[in-house]
């Protein structure tokens, strides 16, 4: 039993490319972030909740949203963690560098949270309720990467 040879078939570096449509709501958001460094959310006409990331429909009320409101750019940490274990980033097929701070940011004026990196300059300051601000990338191309990360401000 111990000596039996058990073969493995490897997929190698095979990968599946995708061209995901961002959609018009997301495209407007990224355009604003890229060109004007501001965040835009969508407000539900029925329950008044302000959604970020923006999307066309308030799921709870099942109504379309067209009312854009500016939110942030500052906010507070809604919840967070610090990732310390190694895993494969499915976008690259390689291990993602760890540790990294990762949080759900409640931008001022928004009701839902935006996921992003949190800088780990001082781990003790990264906690639920801490105030944060975005650090924008210099070269912005219209994706979540236009914000490099959020950092805790005193």
């Amino acid at each position: 039993m111990a000596e039996k040879e058990q073969l493995i078939i490897e997929s190698g570096d095979a990968s599946q490319p995708f061209a995901y449509a961002v959609g018009m709501h997301g495209s407007k958001f990224f355009t604003e972030t890229r060109d004007n460094k501001r965040f835009m959310g969508l407000k539900c006409p029925k329950c008044g909740k302000v959604y970020i990331p923006p999307r066309g429909v308030c799921g709870q009320c099942f109504v379309e949203m067209n009312d854009w409101v500016e939110v942030g750019p500052k906010g507070v940490i809604g919840t967070f963690t610090i990732l310390r274990f190694a895993f494969i980033d499915p976008e690259t097929g390689h291990q993602k560098p760890v540790p990294y701070g990762y949080g759900f940011i409640k931008l001022d004026g928004a009701d839902t949270l935006l996921q992003h990196y949190i800088a780990l300059e001082d781990e003790s300051k990264v906690k639920v309720g801490a105030r944060v601000e975005p650090v924008f990338a210099k070269d912005r191309k219209g994706s979540t990467r236009d914000v490099e990360y959020f950092r805790v401000i005193d």
Binding site: Q16, Y20, R55, V57
Partner: protein, 381 residues
């Protein structure tokens, strides 16, 4: 068993690339069309089934993208992976289960976002087959060759399916590829995998379809005329091609037989008035018709040539233009159901066929029609 009916359908236009729209945007459109068609609001729906594919969508748990836009918030919901006819089947059992009365079923796909050759290559067994590099087109070419060899069918015979279906699509506003073409055009189109030429193959498509299925106790409570589900069956053949008779489709014959039996249909050739089937490739329309018992084996092409399956023939097949005129993979079977419903209600507009009381809708899962789902729908209860 209790009965159930389809009381609302909604379809987005099928397009090559809905670049402006996310999956959720497409679902929102199709669901609202279905609700409007049924004369319902989302509050009248008591459970939701979405149909999608993690591979085609490029996302594990692909159903996550559409739940809220499909009205699933705070409702009981689940997700079928595979063709929309299978999703609708699950929705049907839920409407009959005693737990629910009205199921909203959606199916979506965006072929434009992925590389279909790689996606379908992933359907092959990873240990024995995948590394050889076949995909859906080359696999179906293998089935087409086996079928032609057995029946003596010629590529020109298959091409007639393309001519008919693209022609039918001229009258269907949601079709992606309406075209007036000739057999010669098909025969001159690019050879992709012998014997399949470009015009023998369905296109890459984006689209979403939604249908609403209601238990008999509520089926007539809304404004839309119900279309009754009389027969429904599905069946799966062997996986490895070498285990099957590739020139035939045993699982389709079985599914059709069971669906007819449930519907009380004795002579499908006489009793079925309209068919919407899964013609991903031209030869499939012929082979599927034969296995469904709507033509003798090897003889569907002769009937086609005689105009039997034309829009104005005795048995119109794919009056919508079928998959050849638009193939949003996972949604495709659900579009077939929605099209038959429109035909039976008399709501199909320019592509309406004459005198349709009983219709057949058909969906496929897997390579070369490994698994089939057959629906018999009827105007009368």
């Amino acid at each position: 068993m209790d009965k159930a009916a389809i009381i609302g359908v909604g379809m987005t236009k099928i397009e090559a690339n809905k670049q402006r729209e996310t999956f959720a945007d497409m679902a929102w459109e199709a669901v609202n069309k279905a609700l409007a068609d049924a004369g319902m609001t989302i509050d009248d729906i008591d459970n939701v089934i979405t149909t999608s594919s993690d591979f085609w969508d490029g996302r594990t748990i692909s159903c996550m993208a559409v739940a809220d836009a499909s009205g699933a918030a705070d409702k009981n919901t689940s997700c079928v992976e595979g063709d929309g006819t299978f999703g609708a089947f699950y929705g049907y059992t839920r409407a009959l289960s005693g737990s629910y009365k009205t199921t909203l079923v959606t199916g979506h796909s965006k072929g434009s976002q992925c590389v279909s050759s790689l996606i379908t290559n992933s359907s092959f067994d990873p240990i024995y087959e995948r590394g050889l590099g076949m995909d859906m087109i080359t696999a179906c070419a293998m089935q087409a060759n086996a079928y032609m060899d057995r029946t003596g069918l010629k590529p020109e015979d298959m091409a007639m399916v393309s001519v008919k279906n693209h022609g039918n699509a001229l009258k269907n506003p949601v079709a992606q590829l309406p075209m007036k073409i000739s057999v010669d055009d098909v025969m001159k189109s690019e050879m992709i995998a012998d014997p399949l030429r470009k015009l023998d193959c369905s296109p890459v498509s984006d689209g979403c379809c939604a249908v609403i299925i209601a238990h008999e106790s509520v089926a007539t409570k809304f404004k839309q005329q119900p279309v009754w589900i009389r027969g429904l069956s599905f069946c799966t053949d062997h996986f490895f091609f070498g285990d099957r008779d590739l020139a035939r489709s045993k699982s389709l014959a079985e599914a059709a037989k069971n669906a007819y039996s449930m519907a009380g249909i004795k002579d499908p050739k006489k009793e079925i008035d309209v068919v919407e089937l899964y013609d991903a490739f031209t030869y499939q329309e012929l082979l599927w018709l034969e296995e469904m018992g709507l033509a003798e084996y090897g003889k569907a092409a002769d009937l086609l040539k005689a105009g039997h399956f034309n829009m104005d023939g005795p048995l119109p097949v794919n009056p919508s233009g079928g998959l050849l005129a638009g193939h949003p993979v996972i949604a495709a079977g659900l579009y077939r159901i929605a099209e038959v419903v429109m035909q039976l209600r008399g709501d199909a507009g320019a592509h309406q066929v004459k005198k349709a009381k009983t219709g057949l809708a058909h969906g496929v899962n897997g390579l070369c029609g490994q698994s089939h789902c057959v629906w018999i729908l009827d105007k009368e209860r």
